[in-house]
């Protein structure tokens, strides 16, 4: 909005900083992996980077499948004959 004071994420470099923080935390968490012995719960979770990979690829898969589902499931807002919300 014109004449309004700038907020924290209006500045692109703040958004960039946040992203770099996330990237470093992820890198750090992967690095820590080799510093301690994990007490494995499942045969797979002894693999190095199992949780990181599962979290990342699980979510990518989730979004891609959901996007695909939208093709079949999406209907106009008044599909059931009701007035759409204002």
């Amino acid at each position: 909005m014109p004449g309004e004071r700038e907020h924290v994420f209006d500045k692109p470099h703040n958004v960039r900083r946040l992203l770099y923080a996330l990237y470093s935390v992820c890198a750090l968490l992967l690095g820590v992996e080799f510093l301690y012995h994990r007490h494995a719960l499942h045969p797979w979770d002894g693999w190095p980077g199992f949780y990181a990979g599962y979290g990342f690829f699980g979510c990518v898969l989730l979004v891609l499948v959901a996007k695909l589902l939208r093709r079949f499931l999406k209907r106009p807002e008044n599909y059931y004959g009701e007035e759409p919300e204002p």
Binding site: H42, Y54, V63, L69, F72, K74, R75, E82
Partner: protein
């Protein structure tokens, strides 16, 4: 125990509901606040065992039975009601206040019901009192959604009653204890619980009605009905293997819908099914650790889901919108609400030091201990998915994302206070899990904070966040769109009405042909009668007496002839 008869906590709430109906302003606010506090004192003062019992027909009914399991759910409903009451103090609508108190009373009644018939009564009261929180929105959509909700809830009650009566007829005891899936009565009761618990294909009432309720009503709704069902399953069907798989499906399928759903309160409704899935799965495992995990997660979920729904309710209250496609950038003018929402998001995502972590850890450990490796993987996928759709999506699209241009101010102070209380509880339980563990039905020696678990959970969540960031930066992430996504309710909102109309379409010509044919036949019959009997009809003519005599003589002659021939 005092010498007086013990006071059932539901009576406190029914009395308060009555009083709230006749009072206004500050006095009513005091009554609203006093009800959960008095109820809490009342539950605290109750001893254990069957505290009230009376004979009805041939059965012993127990309207007040207290044990460790019912007590923790009692505290849960009271805590939730206290927070939700504060959240709704600014509301002037008498209907909502009365309905909310009666609804909480019914949830308490169900939690402390010692027999199946008492449970049935509160089961139906829950349905009837809660629907007014949907109707109180006073829109056409809410009216229709409320009706669908009521029909499904009442059906659940009818199934419970049918199962109970069958169980009694087969010589079973009316006591509400372990039921199990032996025989038809067990299945009927299981289905009744399953409807209220939002099992897959029985879940649409939740998705349909909760987002249509008032901003404050949804907070009450989210706390009671489904958690009563979780309690009932934990008492009636612990260790039922089927529940493990039902629970696993419940954790996974709603997150796909949540990703593409636009109404953020509906996203939270889908996420609620996902969280209940964790509890259902743990009840299916049925070990002491698993049941403790289910109860602890129910407790935490009510608080953090309540917090998330309150933050979205606050947004809806001040902006009149809850669609992701309409919102964005609200952190600029609503920083407190945004911060409180993020606490809820971190809790539901089970970040270490927040409440979801300390209860979900118990469930994950119990599932793995029981040897269900594949189910464990499904739950782990769902845990990452929760962070994706509830943990990131909700705060991101409401408060950040693109600037929607909406400049709404913070919600009323009572709303902020209620959200702060819930946020405080989320952090407190996350940091001091023993405070919650002590309330659980079984003694427990469990520490969620070991290095393996903390680091693996952080890895899972941070890389899920990384996936979101990557998908968003690549432009792959699906945009928020105003649309309806088909779910199972399509069968009864579109398919069945369509089939009915189709049937009418086919039957109408047939029906018309039959009516036309009958009418034609009747007309022909009338015309024929008219021909014979009408003024010119053969049978209506006058006959001369002579011809009558002649015909009689002929008849007598013929008779005589026949007689002679026969003889």
């Amino acid at each position: 125990m005092s010498a007086l008869a013990p006071l059932p906590p539901f009576l406190v709430f029914y009395a308060a509901a009555l009083l709230a109906g006749f009072t206004r302003g500050t006095l009513r606010s005091l009554i609203l606040l006093a009800a959960p506090l008095l109820g809490g004192l009342c539950v605290y003062g109750l001893g254990s065992g069957e505290l009230l019992r009376f004979e009805f027909l041939d059965y012993t009914l127990v309207p007040l039975r207290v044990d460790a399991l019912s007590r923790v759910f009692g505290y849960l409903f009271l805590t939730a009601a206290f927070i939700a009451v504060i959240f709704s103090l600014h509301v002037k609508d008498t209907l909502q206040h009365v309905a909310a108190l009666a609804y909480t009373g019914s949830a308490l009644g169900a939690a402390f019901a010692g027999d199946l018939l008492t449970l049935f009564v509160f089961w139906e009261l829950l349905a009837v009192s809660s629907v007014f929180l949907v109707w109180a929105r006073r829109s056409e959509r809410a009216l229709a959604a409320g009706l669908r909700y009521l029909v499904i809830q009442i059906t659940s009650g009818v199934l419970l009653l049918a199962g109970t009566l069958l169980h009694l007829q087969q010589g079973g005891s009316p006591a509400f204890a372990h039921i199990g899936l032996d025989g038809l009565s067990g299945w009927l009761i299981f289905t009744a619980f399953g409807i209220k618990c939002a099992f897959p294909f029985l879940h649409n009432w939740l998705i349909d009605a909760y987002p249509e309720a008032t901003p404050t009503g949804t907070v009450f709704l989210s706390a009671m009905t489904t958690k009563v069902a979780v309690y009932a399953l934990a008492r009636g069907f612990p260790g039922t293997e089927l529940l493990i798989y039902i629970g696993a499906v419940m954790t996974c399928f709603p997150i796909f819908y949540a990703v593409i759903e636009n109404d953020l309160r509906r996203v939270l409704a889908y996420s609620m099914i996902n969280q209940i899935g964790f509890m259902v799965c743990a009840i299916g495992v049925g070990t002491q650790l698993a049941l403790n995990g289910a109860v602890a997660h129910a407790f935490n979920e009510v608080i953090f889901k309540g917090l998330l729904l309150m933050s979205m309710g606050a947004v809806l209250h001040v902006t009149g919108r809850s669609n992701g496609s309409d919102l964005g950038g609200l952190y600029k003018t609503m920083p407190k609400t945004a911060a409180l929402c993020i606490v809820g998001a971190l809790s539901i995502s089970a970040f270490p030091l927040f409440s979801g972590f300390v209860s979900k850890a118990v469930i994950m450990t119990a599932v793995q201990d029981a040897g269900h490796g594949w189910v464990w993987l499904a739950l782990l996928f769902a845990s990452a998915g929760v962070f994706h759709h509830a943990g990131i999506k909700i705060p991101f699209f409401a408060f950040f994302a693109r600037d929607s241009g909406i400049r709404a101010s913070e919600p009323p102070r009572n709303m902020l206070l209620a959200m702060s209380l819930a946020a405080l509880l989320c952090v407190f339980i996350g940091a001091q899990p023993d405070a919650l563990y002590r309330l659980l039905p079984f003694a427990m020696d469990y520490d969620p904070y070991n290095a393996s678990h903390v680091i693996s959970q952080l890895q899972l969540l941070c890389f899920a966040a990384l996936a979101f960031t990557w998908l968003k930066l690549q432009g792959i992430y699906p945009p928020e769109l105003r649309a309806v996504n088909l779910d199972f309710d399509w069968t009864y909102r579109h398919l069945l009405p369509g089939a009915y109309r189709g049937m009418l379409g086919t039957l109408q010509p047939l029906d018309r042909a039959i009516r036309q044919g009958t009418a034609d036949m009747a007309r022909d019959a009338i015309a024929a009668l008219f021909r014979q009997h009408g003024p010119r009809g053969l049978l209506a003519r006058t006959w001369p007496t002579g011809s009558m005599v002649l015909w009689i003589a002929v008849l007598l002659g013929a008779y005589l002839l026949a007689y002679l021939l026969a003889w």
